[in-house]
Symmetry: C2
Subunit: 421 residues, 2 copies
């Protein structure tokens, strides 16, 4: 189906990390779901295409959330006086066990999908729970909403409460069925999701490694988030030198199939070298890392050493779905890290944070997160007229205000050329 | 004028730091602007008083903002990629100089007052600029709005751009005039406001010390916010052993007249001992301390050693007026401090943060910040029905969600018994 139209407004994107491209009151052309160019005036060949007029507003690439738990949305902002392992026991696991009930799952995932749709996020990599029917329901709801996500049925066969633990065989069989059944979705795709090493036996990990080879699907998990967690993993996997090896030994650490590792707060030199060699994506989740007292990931260092990095809300370790909030959290944490940990590593700047939230994380999805020619047409329109000020702001200033001050809700949103609202 | 009525709803307050009192669906009685008690059923003597029904909602003490710059509201969220001294030069000073123009000042302060009115803050300690007419205009607008604030005409006679510097004589004379003229306001009171030591000569400070004795007014300033600033002060005041002494030598550091010092990120042992001895209030402004790369104030230690502490938004070093946001920023920063700086000092808990935001800061205003009998009747009503979840939440959970997730806008607000909306 041929589709061609343009958006008019103030256009912003980050061609590279630290760069900010700004086109005042220009036309952004969408052709068959992809960006066809930005023009001050529409050229002759586009003269008669429909124009959606967002004059005066800000047009940005859709934001990318590389890590969040849809099944934890119900208790965002709760239990925040706890640390990771305690919080998992008392909050995350009891809530996630409810998703065995498909009716509850549908209600909870419908609410989540509505809220994600209203947000500035166009694409996300999402943890569901270990329940196959509920996970398929989530994918169905996201597909109906027009979002483009990766979704993972979670694997857990140890160190979990009875109501939230599979046998190894069951976990692998359910995963295979889910991979087969989810082939019916066009825009929402499955992603292997062993919860984290403490939840998965070696036999399960090895089986997932075989499934990945067979189905050629990407994989997501958690890595080096929290110091007690890291000690636990080194006890569970005495044959490994660092946490990342616990995945790598089963082929589940980048390479042929893309991998996202959430957090990487405490990754050491060897782990970082392996991540870089294997092209592993780092999902930086600063708010979660504060809420669960994990620490501050060295995200600027990761950028400097050429790692692949994006942002994650990590709902419900993070309380907010907004990736604008994740940007400012990332900047603020990087400033504290500079001040308190390592003054050789400068803080993140606003254009760098925007890059992480768009092209940085977007590249996991292919040509996503930019308005360069050929990129998939994910766009959000931000109206800053409800952020009153007596100051006459320049366009970069208006962008900074939207990032710091807006409620994160765009007034229009496009995913791969399709307008959601 | 006799005034008596009750609010009905779920009532929360913090009788002491770390304690949380909760009265499900109860009556909070206001008598002549003060709290007269909380009752499950209205007793006989109150049987016929009017009841404002907020059933199902949360009723909290009004929030207290111990430190913000009204004149910086226009550029909140801007220039956040800079550190303190650079940011003052390029953002704060140019904007503040505009307040020489009373017409601009009125426009800017009207917008600020509208936004503060809509917020959950009932009382604040506010920096204006050095301009007397503009400062009186701000006090007039706050008075009209029904807020109860302390406001300071700023003093600056050195190390400031020409357009934002008074002579010493002028500064003292304008301050005296302003103190006299502001006697006409009932609920909004003047507070001496030497910007910070680098901006004020010894002669100015000495003069302000004399004015304080004469007029018996409180005083606010900045203290030990940022490391380069502290070095600068030690150069400017070679006779002092620590920053606080630069105020104390002129009698401007607590004692008879209450004093608020914003930040205290890097106060050393001697400074802390002096603060405690003099009863100096610490305005903890965590978001500002992140944005301007200052660090993390040891607020939990301050509580443990018995200092007087409250929260500040520090707009525009902080980008958000919301003191709910200041609470979660304070908790998150305290967790990072525990993790990265000192594991002997635990993180702040949610009830402690609520205490700081209410009774902690409120005590600066007298009996303010609690619903105990005799306290001034400052209350906000929070409607959490727009924070959807599939979870059935307990009352403490609903409070935590409001603190973490709400936009900070109450649906009803009372100051000293007067309903603002």
């Amino acid at each position: 189906m041929d589709q061609i139209y343009a958006l008019k407004g103030n256009i912003f994107y980050t061609p590279a990390c630290g760069q900010l491209a700004i086109y005042p009151e220009s036309y952004l052309v969408c052709e068959n779901g992809r960006c066809a160019g930005i023009f001050g005036q529409l050229p002759e060949r586009y003269k008669n295409i429909p124009v959606e007029d967002h004059s005066g507003k800000l047009i940005l690439p859709g934001l990318i959330d590389l890590h969040l738990h849809a099944s934890q949305y119900a208790y965002r902002g709760l239990g925040m006086d706890m640390e990771l392992l305690q919080w998992l026991e008392s909050n995350a696991f009891p809530e996630e066990s409810k998703f065995a009930d498909l009716e509850y799952a549908e209600e909870a995932y419908r609410l989540f999908t509505q809220q994600l749709t209203k947000s500035a996020t166009t694409r996300a990599c999402i943890f569901a729970t270990l329940h196959r029917p509920a996970t398929l329901k989530l994918m169905e709801l996201l597909e109906e909403a027009g979002l483009h996500c990766y979704v993972g049925k979670v694997n857990m066969d140890r160190n979990s409460p009875d109501i939230l633990r599979e046998t190894t065989e069951e976990s692998l069989e359910e995963t295979r069925l889910w991979l087969e059944e989810s082939a019916r979705f066009v825009n929402n795709k499955p992603m292997l999701t062993p919860r984290f090493t403490p939840s998965c036996t070696d036999a399960l990990m090895a089986g997932l490694g075989r499934l990945q080879k067979e189905f050629q699907v990407p994989m997501q998990s958690h890595l080096s988030e929290n110091i007690p967690e890291i000690h636990w993993v080194s006890e569970l996997c005495p044959n490994t030198r660092f946490y990342g090896e616990a995945y790598h030994q089963f082929g589940l650490f980048g390479g042929d199939c893309p991998t996202i590792m959430a957090h990487c707060v405490w990754s050491d030199k060897e782990e970082r070298e392996l991540m870089k060699r294997q092209g592993v994506y780092i999902a930086h989740c600063p708010q979660s890392n504060m809420n669960i007292s994990s620490g501050i990931a060295p995200v600027k260092s990761y950028l400097m050493e050429g790692q692949k990095v994006g942002l994650g809300s990590d709902v419900a370790g993070g309380a907010h779905l907004s990736i604008f909030r994740a940007m400012t959290d990332a900047i603020q944490c990087s400033k504290l890290r500079w001040r308190l940990v390592d003054q050789n590593i400068p803080a993140l700047t606003m254009p760098e944070a925007l890059y992480l939230a768009t092209k940085g994380g977007g590249s996991f999805f292919g040509q996503v997160g930019s308005f360069e020619k050929g990129y998939e047409f994910d766009a959000i329109v931000m109206d800053d007229s409800d952020l009153p000020t007596t100051r006459k702001c320049s366009l970069p200033e208006r962008l900074e205000r939207v990032i710091y001050l807006s409620d994160g809700k765009p007034c229009a949103k496009y995913v791969a050329g399709q307008r959601l609202f």
